[in-house]
Amino acid sequence: MQFMLLFSRQGKLRLQKWYVAHPDKAKKKITRELITTILARKPKMSSFLEWRDLKIVYKRYASLYFCCAIDQEDNELLTLEVIHRYVELLDKYFGSVCELDIIFNFEKAYFMLDELVVGGEVCETSKKNVLKAIAAQDLLQEEEIVELALRDLGLI
């Protein structure tokens, strides 16, 4: 996978993850181009487009579009499954996830993606393991806060 974009039906970017380096300007141009192309497509059309030398796979979930750019030899149908898996994970984590959850907790959405996909490759196929890793890291943060609070209060 070369990059992943999440954007709303209004064309607002909600998340972007790049696994291949591009200058900022190019990223913006790609994002803009893809958002307009995809939003212009009719719901009856397939989820795939050929764009430059990449294959674009996108899927809409409620008001959000999930869009991945993959290489020529990658499997489009499986990429749809990766997207679906990511949505399932977000759903489990936030509890019936909606666009607002991702807006206000965008960093959490990134953390989740980083547990599922690393460097553009799927690195964990078990939902349970991903959620476990996220929960453990959240707990780590929580403990830090408690510890700091106690330290500040002079209790430790």
Binding site: K44, V122, D152
Partner: protein, 903 residues
């Protein structure tokens, strides 16, 4: 659980601790900021997002963001570490909205260096978003990464690995490869899987590091943990792709992979990895992909996987997307390895089933894959032809496009009739973006597989009608060529068909009108045989309609006006009307049309006797010649130079190098002809008359004429006819190189009309010259070279450059003669470059040679267009090798004859 999370979030947001710490850790620490200037606490991320979202206009949003960015910058400058995490998080949000956030890069690095996990988590996230491999700050991040890769906390290691896998640069890859290799052997699966992906990235950045990871892969395939297994297979796959040696090394793992796949397919339900009844599709697909790479071109490996591939192909549930994803990958593998025939048929049948699926995605994938395999297994794909044709009518444009491509790949002599019928009906309703490609492909396919000429003509006409104005020029040219080449019966048929179109068609489909006018003009003698016979009045009325219509393009009118001339010569009754139409064009705004108008009027008046022979029927095109004309637009100089003798007759006006290169020799030859004929005129004034009265064909034009032809021997394959054509088109096209407004293909055709009509008749060459010498044609003639004298512009290093000039209005043609004045030294790779002031345009044509033996010389033509009559100056740069020693020199020429621009 979620309530706990909320509590945590609240805690972070309130930053209770930070507020506490602020007291302990005041800004005044540095003593720079007095108490009263101190900033209030930065707003929370959540509040910022709310503020931005409540902005009603883009300007309002911008102002909120700018204000916040200013505040964030300020805290960054104060080296405040308390709010850094919150500020970077806000900055990341702002960055996502498209605002610049590069000033946060350093802060990310500081967060990464912090001991707190919360800081690191945001810091690494920021690093992945704000940095990539091209930034210099990487030197700084490498150290932090190195530390964190050694961290006792697995999640800190995990963050570092994840970041490295996303943004590693070659330098980072080198510096951290050792650490990653160590972690790849870690006992912790969470670390191992991420390290494997890191290794992939490192290898892709620094290929020579591949070997370092090779030993660690040994145990990866015997893993139980699916995360490690899938990333391990990813690592092995990328190794195999990267190095053929490694590919051989991993051939022995085929057995392992087959076992893994078998376990997945055969194993019962495992809740952890199940996706809608399929066991770990992600892993299955990865294994299939690696099998494909290992089995490609290896009979033994392919043999080992045949069974399991068949098993996967038959046992996978095809009702859901996930099952189809696996089947799709399986099909790709089957078609790519050396699999059994039965298995291949099974694979194509799976794709056939995909085509019937209601899911557009599956259909798309099927067409896409069939397109890949159609060349390997045409027969198997043919079986699904009807389904594929059905896809031409799909509502989804991407599916239609794929289906169209596939249909063209499926055409063969036995099905060409039915396929073409479907494709033409597709073409009729297709989007404009398809029409050009589709019509071109139809033409190619028809040419390749047509059962007979009648069908071929029919098909091309249908294509032109169906595609309307989207027909590319080459299709028009092909159709005309086909009709010109075919027999009388077909020509008669084409005339009847096209006359019908021409008399009834609306005037907005240019390609059809172009073909129709060409054919009806060229074969006007058949018009009387159409239906009950077409009256001369009817024909002229149709031509008038075209010539006076504002809907017709200039190119169409060019076709029509030349065609009307032919018409007049075939149907004498139309003469006066055509003459009228043509003369009206003498004042047309379009230069090309005006030119024709004036010329053709001359043919009606002063040179009426030449008209008939000039407008003789064209001989059939040479096939290769048309190819050249098609390629001309995109041709490179080399190709055109090779085709030079053929292209000579084309003489198109394109400004591109290829054609320019071709033009050079013909020009010199025609000059020679001019000079020569000038001499003839003096000595034998009756020559033109004599030749004019000579009968056709050129064989009978007398010995004098053939002497002239002998002199033209240097012209290549063209012969006398071509040179005559060259001359004519030279006088006709005195718009010269600047006349590029028209499509090249159509221009070629017009020139061809002239060239070929004159090629029947050598006397036209001579007649033309008579016209020139008496200055009776309104086309200006070239003054002879000595009018401006010659100019030696360079004489050094055994090289002498002399220029002679010819001017035609604003266009000066300079003939550069370079002479090697030494007696022993060989000059090679001679390169002449020149520059002129900006108001002038310069075109350097290809020199006659680039090497000079002692005392030899070469010529190069230079065209200078000087519409503003500016003073001509030229800067020169020369380079060449004299006996292998490179010599470079420069010079400036300021002494051009003023007559070149003062006229």
């Amino acid at each position: 659980m979620s309530s706990i999370k909320q509590v945590i979030n609240e805690a972070v947001e309130k930053d209770y601790t930070a507020e506490q710490r602020e007291i302990l850790n005041p800004y005044s620490k540095k003593g720079l900021l007095p108490e009263q200037v101190r900033q209030p606490n930065p707003i929370r991320l959540r509040d910022l997002i709310r503020q931005i979202r409540s902005a009603k206009t883009a300007a309002e949003e911008r102002s909120v963001v700018n204000k916040e960015c200013a505040a964030i910058r300020l805290t960054f400058r104060e080296e405040d570490s308390v709010w850094r995490c919150r500020n970077v998080a806000k900055l990341l949000y702002i960055h996502m909205l498209g605002y610049p956030a590069h000033f946060g890069q350093m802060e990310c690095l500081k967060l990464i260096a912090s001991p707190r996990f919360t800081d690191k988590r945001i810091g690494y996230l920021g690093a992945m978003l704000l940095l990539d491999e091209r930034q210099d700050v990487h030197l700084l991040i490498t150290n932090s990464l190195k530390n964190d890769l050694k961290s006792p906390t697995q999640f800190v290691q995990g963050l570092a690995l994840c970041t490295l896998a996303a943004i590693a640069s070659p330098e980072m890859a080198r510096d951290l490869a050792d650490e990653v290799e160590r972690l790849l052997k870690s006992s912790n699966a969470y670390i191992r899987k991420k390290a494997a992906i890191c290794a992939v990235r490192i290898m892709s950045k620094v290929p020579e590091l591949l070997e370092m990871f090779l030993p660690a892969t040994r145990n990866l395939l015997s893993e139980k943990n699916h995360g490690v297994l899938i990333t391990g297979i990813t690592l092995i796959t990328s190794m195999c792709v990267q190095s053929p040696d490694t590919l051989d090394h991993f051939k022995k793992t085929v057995g392992n992979l087959v076992r893994i796949l078998k376990n997945l397919v055969m194993a019962g339900y495992s809740p952890e990895h199940d996706v809608q009844g399929v066991s770990d599709p992600f892993l299955q697909v990865k294994v299939l992909k690696l099998l494909r790479i290992l089995g490609r071109g290896d009979g033994q490996a392919s043999e080992t996987m045949n069974d399991i591939l068949a098993q996967v192909a038959t046992n996978t549930e095809a009702t859901k997307n996930v099952g189809n994803a696996i089947l799709y990958e399986t099909v790709l593998s089957i078609m790519d390895i050396q699999s059994e025939t039965g298995l291949r048929v099974l694979a194509v049948n799976i794709l056939g089933r995909f085509l019937l699926n209601v899911d557009k995605n599956i259909k798309y994938v099927a067409l896409h894959t069939l397109l890949k395999v159609v060349h390997q297994d045409n027969q198997a794909v043919q079986r699904h032809r009807t389904t594929i044709l059905e896809c031409l009518k799909d509502a989804d444009i991407t599916i239609r496009r794929r289906a169209m491509e596939l249909c063209f790949a499926l055409i063969n002599p036995s099905n060409v009739r039915t396929m073409m019928k479907e494709l033409i009906s597709f073409l009729e309703t297709a989007e404009t973006e398809f029409k050009a490609v589709c019509s071109s492909k139809c033409v190619t396919a028809a040419e390749q597989f047509s059962p007979n000429t009648r069908w071929h003509i029919d098909t091309l006409l249908k294509v032109i009608i169906a595609a309307g104005n989207s027909v590319p020029d080459d299709v028009v040219a092909c159709t005309i060529q086909l009709i010109a080449e075919s027999g009388e019966a077909e020509q008669q048929y084409a005339v009847a068909e096209l006359w019908q179109r021409l008399s009834a068609a609306p005037l907005d489909t240019q390609p059809l009108l172009q073909v129709a006018t060409w054919v009806c003009g060229e074969f006007a003698n058949f018009l009387s045989l159409v239906g009950g016979g077409v009256s001369e009045g009817e024909v002229v009325a149709v031509y008038q309609r075209i010539l006076w219509s504002s809907q017709c393009s200039a190119v169409t009118k060019q076709y029509a006006i030349t065609s009307s001339m032919k018409l007049a010569s075939r149907m004498p009754g139309t003469n006066s009307l055509v003459a009228q139409m043509v003369s009206a064009y003498g004042s047309h705004l379009n230069v090309e049309l005006q030119q024709r108008g004036v010329e053709y009027t001359q043919l009606f008046t002063r040179y009426d006797s030449m008209r008939g022979p000039l407008l003789e029927r064209m001989p059939p095109f040479e096939r290769s010649r048309l190819r050249v004309s098609q390629d001309a637009a995109a041709a490179n100089a080399a190709a055109a130079a090779a085709a030079a003798p053929l292209a000579n007759g084309l003489h198109n006006n394109n400004n591109n190098d290829a054609v320019a290169a071709v033009q050079a020799p013909s020009q010199s030859d025609s000059n020679a002809l001019l000079d020569l004929l000038g001499g003839l005129d003096d000595s034998a004034n009756d020559v033109p008359v004599q030749v004019k009265s000579a009968p056709l064909p050129p064989a009978g034009t007398g010995s004098l004429n053939s002497d002239i032809l002998d002199l033209l021997g240097g012209l290549g394959g063209g012969g006398g006819g071509d040179s005559g054509g060259t001359l004519i088109s030279r006088t006709v096209n005195n718009g010269g190189i600047l006349d590029t407004g028209l499509g090249s293909a159509s221009n070629n055709l017009l020139d061809d009309l002239l060239n070929n009509s004159s090629s029947n008749l050598n006397n036209s060459t001579l007649a033309n010259n008579t016209i020139n010498s008496t200055n009776s044609l309104p086309v200006s003639t070239l003054p002879s070279s000595d009018e401006y004298g010659s100019l030696t512009i360079y004489e050094r290093n055994n090289l002498r450059l002399v220029m002679t000039f010819q001017r035609q209005d604003s266009l000066t043609t300079i003939t550069l003669t370079a002479t090697n004045s030494s007696t022993s030294c060989n000059i090679t790779d001679f390169l002449f470059q020149a520059a002129v002031p900006k108001s002038l345009q310069l075109q350097l044509l290809t020199p006659s040679s680039t090497s000079l033996a002692p005392a030899a010389s070469l010529t190069q033509f230079i065209r200078v267009n000087n519409p503003n009559k500016a003073v001509l100056r030229m800067k020169l740069r020369l380079s060449w090798f004299a006996d292998g020693v490179k010599i470079e020199d420069q010079n400036e020429v300021n002494n051009f004859p003023p007559a070149l621009w003062q006229y």
